[in-house]
């Protein structure tokens, strides 16, 4: 290790705290955004009483959830009932740790805009996603409630099935960039702005749509929100949870939404690079460069969150057999075809070695 241990640990601790605080704040305000937008879609105002435009609503909601009584039903299996929301939120928070938010700027040898820069960033994300299922599965089982159990079973089956399509859709991007490091994947797309993004220039739009649909299913969001289908399962896997434990599931869901948006931005839309490429003059000021990169990143992630909420406000829920058929019979074959076509193109373009 080149840097000294103590400053290294301190800078990293500071980074972790800043990222977690910003992440949780953006989770809170994503909830507000969702309520406002869905309100507009349904021709009503959404929250508007607390603060200007309802902007203080998330804080009030948080305080309310903290003050609520933490009910513990008699028949639950206690250790797992408590562990489940911790796993769910823990995985949601962990996955943000490998996401790079801005350009490659180092301070005292430590990457500023990313908690940890690893060679296998993409695989770590997939690994955390696959472990995140336990939060939902265990919560449903330990609640000792048939609705919870059904919701949990649906969620696990859905997540396992769509994980396959998700993983396969990323292979095309990895083939194009030849690396699993998220910074390298963005670096490949950085040269010509919009034209070199994987979505446009890389012809990975098929992969992008597969990723998007699989990610909606992975985060249990509408139109794949069968695990918590109110009309059939009251509230699905978190029926028995109240107060902060419920809030942890809620935060995990929105946190996963944000992470999915970040990953889609990094993999398909050039991450923090500007869509104009070199058309606009590059600023020479380091601070300006980093602010611009953060600006583009946030704008793109915001676009994904908007899309999420828009889809939720427009599309009806899938039926369960449609969900499984769609995942296995449509998304997986299309993803495999995308891999074949992409590798053919790359193979033809490469000079013979």
């Amino acid at each position: 290790m080149e840097t000294h241990l103590i400053p290294f640990l301190l800078i990293n601790l500071a980074k972790v705290i800043v990222v977690v605080v910003i992440f949780l704040m953006s989770v809170a305000y994503t909830v507000l955004l969702e309520r406002k937008l869905v309100g507009r879609i349904q021709n009503r105002w959404g929250p508007s009483r607390v603060g200007p435009f309802g902007l203080l609503q998330p804080l009030v909601d948080g305080a309310k959830l903290f003050l609520k009584e933490d009910l513990m039903p008699e028949a639950v299996y206690r250790p797992l009932y408590i562990l489940a929301p911790i796993i769910a939120l823990g995985c949601a928070l962990m996955s943000i740790s490998v996401v790079p938010f801005g350009s490659d700027i180092k301070w005292h040898g430590v990457q500023l805009f990313e908690i940890s820069d690893t060679n296998i960033g993409l695989l770590i994300l997939l690994g955390i996603t696959s472990v995140g299922v336990y939060g939902i599965a265990l919560s449903g089982w330990s609640s000792n409630n048939k609705y919870s159990l059904l919701g949990a079973l649906r969620a696990s089956a859905q997540v396992i099935s769509y994980e396959l399509a998700l993983g396969l859709s990323l292979v095309g991007v990895v083939l194009r960039s030849g690396s699993l490091r998220l910074r390298d994947i963005v670096g490949v797309q950085a040269t010509h702005g919009l034209l070199s993004w994987n979505f446009f220039g890389g012809f990975q739009f098929v992969a992008f749509f597969i990723y998007l649909m699989a990610a909606y299913a992975e985060t249990n969001r509408s139109p794949f929100d069968l695990p918590e289908a109110e009309s059939e399962l009251t509230a699905g896997y978190h029926t028995e949870y109240s107060s902060m434990k419920f809030a942890m599931f809620f935060m995990a869901e929105y946190g996963n939404m944000i992470t999915v948006g970040c990953v889609a931005t990094l993999l398909f839309f050039g991450g923090w690079t500007s869509p104009f490429g070199n058309l606009l003059p590059q600023p020479h000021n380091q601070i300006l460069i980093s602010l611009l990169s953060i600006f583009w990143f946030v704008i793109k992630v915001f676009g994904f969150l908007f899309l999420y909420i828009w889809v939720r406000g427009t599309l009806p829920r899938f039926r369960y057999d449609q969900l499984m058929g769609f995942g296995w019979k449509f998304l997986v074959p299309v993803a495999v075809a995308n891999i074949v076509v992409t590798s053919f193109c790359i193979g033809l373009r490469l000079p013979m070695q």
């Binding site: 290790m1 060679n119 296998i120 690994g127 336990y134 079973l153 696990s156 396992i160 690396s179």
Partner: protein
């Protein structure tokens, strides 16, 4: 740093394995197995096998153990009942296990020189190194293995299919 991490996760691994045997409820055993798998992934990472570590988490702690817990939840398996094993197990089992362990330890120690050495955090096998070996030097065995797995999948489908 590496040594501290190794001690923590090796301890966690052993504790998880013991807990797996001692727990009576199948879901607790399954969860301890997840702990074992995940701490093994950290040990791989410490030895520099980053792809293997990620694959361990994705495949073992993720996919396979989810299926385990899934089955346990579906069957709603109850608590395991303790049976008093036969006397023979106590008389022959413990000395047998001890003898086997002693034999293994003896062989490992006496043949130590032929194993080669690995130090924590010294060597890093990147994903591209691994893929170069798999897809260039060992292409045929790799492909044959994947065909073998494919056959196993087809066999499972054929067995699970309902007769018409």
């Amino acid at each position: 740093m590496h040594l501290a991490l190794f001690i923590i996760f090796a301890g966690l691994c052993v504790a998880g394995a013991l807990n797996l045997l001692l727990q009576r409820h199948p879901i607790n055993s399954a969860l301890s197995l997840i702990v074992v798998m995940s701490s093994l992934a950290v040990l791989y990472l410490l030895l520099g096998a980053e792809f293997l570590a990620a694959a361990q988490v994705i495949v073992y702690s993720g996919a396979i153990m989810v299926l385990f817990t899934f089955v346990i939840m579906l069957l709603n398996a109850g608590k395991e009942e303790r049976t008093h094993g036969s006397k023979l197990a106590y008389i022959a089992g413990f000395p047998g296990a001890a003898a086997l362990l002693g034999l293994l330890a003896f062989i490992f120690i006496s043949r130590r020189s032929s194993f080669g050495q690995a130090r924590l955090g010294e060597y890093l096998a990147t994903t591209s190194d691994l893929s170069r070996v798999l897809f260039k030097d060992l292409l045929l065995p790799f492909e044959v293995t994947s065909v073998l797995i494919l056959i196993a999948i087809l066999g499972a489908v054929a067995l699970a299919r309902k007769e018409h």
